[in-house]
């Protein structure tokens, strides 16, 4: 149908600028990442010679060989994958339930509960009391400590809720008349037409879990359970020469830049791959099709 429509000149000019600008933006945003990937395949000598290296002239896999020569990184990646997958499922379950419940406008006390949740975005008791609760609930030194204390992210829950609220009430009403209860409405009607929102919030959770790092250091004394971000962080901080406490170990040479870059690549690429897989849920009009069908 659209093809029959004659495309106006103005529209074509618009398209030209739009494509041009977007290409430019994509290039500018991606350059530093190319720098990181390029440096990870370079030799140390070339890095020291070239300030902002994009494509190495001498290709080297040394940094990757070094990283993968022990099982530390594999173990850390394994932990990160478990925490990310498990944590995302866990969080989505409770966030969806809470968000849907609070999206119902006829719920008595809804405003008070919502306010109570917003409040947690602004105030927190601090590291030590939180640690005590985590300790008292028996999560210390278990991977659950990276998940349960952050079960619901209030920010994500509020977004999800506002997506749910945009669903026409008529859909729910008609299901109700058919005798469906709240759970089946949520799982059979609301969720299927909220896939873009579910995909978005899942992505948010997945990325948060993937990046989890401070909790691992605080709650897990067993280094075997550290996720990959702890390793990445340690290498980046040491390699950037940012540990100012130089008085104790002046003789330790920092890890090489190539190793830093390779670790960034290894620790980042797995989570980067998530989004392209979710993109099919973002196709325009996908949602309405499913409703109508």
């Amino acid at each position: 149908m659209a093809k029959l429509q004659k495309v106006s000149a103005g529209s074509r000019v618009f398209d030209f600028f739009n494509y041009f600008l977007l290409t430019l933006i994509a290039l500018v945003t991606i350059l530093p990442f190319i720098h990181v990937v390029g440096s990870s395949f370079a030799t140390s000598a070339e890095i020291a010679r070239t300030k902002f290296l994009l494509f190495p002239t001498e290709f080297s896999l040394n940094a990757y060989e070094y990283i993968f020569s022990t099982d530390t990184i594999f173990r850390a990646l394994g932990v990160s994958i478990i925490v990310t997958v498990g944590g995302t499922l866990w969080s989505m379950l409770f966030s969806t339930l809470t968000a849907y419940g609070l999206s119902r406008k006829d719920l008595v006390g809804r405003r008070a509960i919502n306010f109570m949740i917003v409040f947690t975005l602004l105030f927190n008791g601090g590291m030590i009391p939180t640690f005590l609760v985590v300790q008292q609930t028996g999560l210390l030194n278990s991977l659950w400590a990276l998940v349960v204390p952050v079960t619901i992210n209030a920010f994500n829950m509020i977004i999800l809720r506002s997506f749910f609220m945009n669903i026409p009430e008529s859909l729910e009403e008609s299901a109700k008349i058919d005798g469906a209860n709240d759970f089946s409405i949520l799982f059979r009607i609301v969720l299927p037409i909220s896939l873009p929102a579910i995909a978005t919030i899942s992505l948010f959770y997945a990325v948060t879990y993937w990046n989890t790092y401070m909790h691992a250091i605080l709650y897990l004394s067993d280094a075997d359970k550290w996720p990959v971000q702890v390793l990445l962080r340690q290498i980046v901080v040491l390699a950037s020469g940012m540990n100012y406490d130089s008085e104790s170990f002046t003789d330790v040479p920092p890890p090489e830049t190539t190793i830093k870059m390779a670790t960034i690549v290894v620790a980042t690429v797995p989570v980067l791959l998530v989004y392209p897989f979710l993109q099919k849920y973002f196709a325009k009009g996908a949602l309405l099709g499913s409703v109508k069908g």
Binding site: F14, T29, T120, G126, S240, F282
Partner: protein, 320 residues
């Protein structure tokens, strides 16, 4: 007459009763919904509200080994110290400036970007751009700031090298307080703009494509279509995000600012988080840093309440 007042009183009573029973009826009707939100509420109570007793240490001279029970109460001393400190207004101003940049410059960019992406018809191009622009979000600030250093430094940085070949004076980007704010916001945009589009793109999927069709029939150009169809569809998400952003008024990314901070730009770059970092973490002044956190929370709360009230006045849903 008398009977009628009686009946009126009775009626009011009745009405009240009815209202109460109506409330009860609604609660009962929704009992499954309450069941649904119960685990979530328990989570917030246990892991968010239980630790909040820790806030009381901002009224104490807290010593870890004495615990909260054993530490000495000092009333508002820490708040007094904060408000009377010679840097307080400078920090407050710096924080507000960065907040302004975040709201007025950064915030609209992901929206514009997602509108632009939405106009792209080649699915492959669209997906590629989307994926590329979201990558920087995964680079830590440490990496981003060190890349900026490499590009902007006077000692062989690319940008200054280019300026010099163009016959221009090199610019002292790093050790100059005028460049801190532009640098800050450009880095924020660079890292977060692409990531920020995801939410809006998800919201845009709710638009019925036939609406565009109809608009085209009416001769609406692309900008009008954006304005009248796409934007209204994502309005509620924009407002929710804006309110949440306003609540973060004093949260501007500690790590980022701390990495950019140096002796020459402290007068514009010092914010609350960096200010308490030295006191709190390096010197174990738990009470003082908690008090500053408390203060930040209160300011955030006031802003959120105000923004939410404003949203409601415009018949928006708000966040609570």
């Amino acid at each position: 007459m008398e009977t009628s007042t009686m009946s009126a009183r009775e009626e009011a009573k009745q009405l009240k009763k009815m209202k109460r029973s109506e409330t009860w009826r609604r609660i009962k009707k929704n009992k499954m919904i309450y069941l649904m939100i119960l685990p979530g509420l328990l989570y917030f109570l246990i892991y968010k509200y239980l630790p909040m007793y820790g806030l009381v240490i901002s009224f104490q001279d807290y010593k870890p080994y004495k615990g909260i029970a054993g530490s000495e109460w000092v009333g508002l001393e820490h708040f007094e110290r904060l408000f009377t400190s010679s840097e307080f207004w400078m920090i407050f101003k710096n924080t507000l400036m960065l907040f302004g940049l975040q709201v007025f410059i950064f915030f609209p960019i992901p929206i514009i970007l997602s509108l632009m992406l939405n106009e792209v018809r080649h699915s492959f191009f669209k997906r590629s751009v989307q994926t590329l622009v979201y990558i920087p979000h995964f680079m830590s600030w440490v990496v981003i700031v060190s890349i900026s250093y490499v590009m902007l430094t006077l000692d062989g940085g690319i940008v200054n090298a280019v300026l010099e070949t163009l016959g221009l004076q090199p610019i002292n980007f790093l050790l100059n307080d005028e460049w801190f704010r532009p640098m800050y916001i450009i880095q924020v945009i660079w890292r977060e703009a692409g990531w920020g589009t995801i939410i809006f793109l998800a919201a845009i999927t709710a638009v019925d494509p036939s609406l565009y069709e109809a608009a085209r029939m009416d001769g609406a150009n692309r900008f009008r279509q954006m304005w009248h169809i796409t934007l209204p569809a994502i309005r509620s998400v924009i407002i929710v995000l804006l309110i949440l952003k306003i609540g973060d008024v004093l949260e501007l990314g500690f790590e980022h600012v701390y990495l950019l901070l140096n002796s020459s730009n402290r007068n514009v770059a010092e914010i609350f988080d960096t200010y308490v970092y030295v006191a709190g973490l390096q010197q174990g002044q738990f009470s003082y840093s908690t008090a500053v956190g408390f203060f930040k929370g209160i300011v955030g709360l006031i802003m959120v309440i105000f923004a939410n009230w404003l949203a409601k006045r415009f018949n928006e849903e708000g966040i609570y």
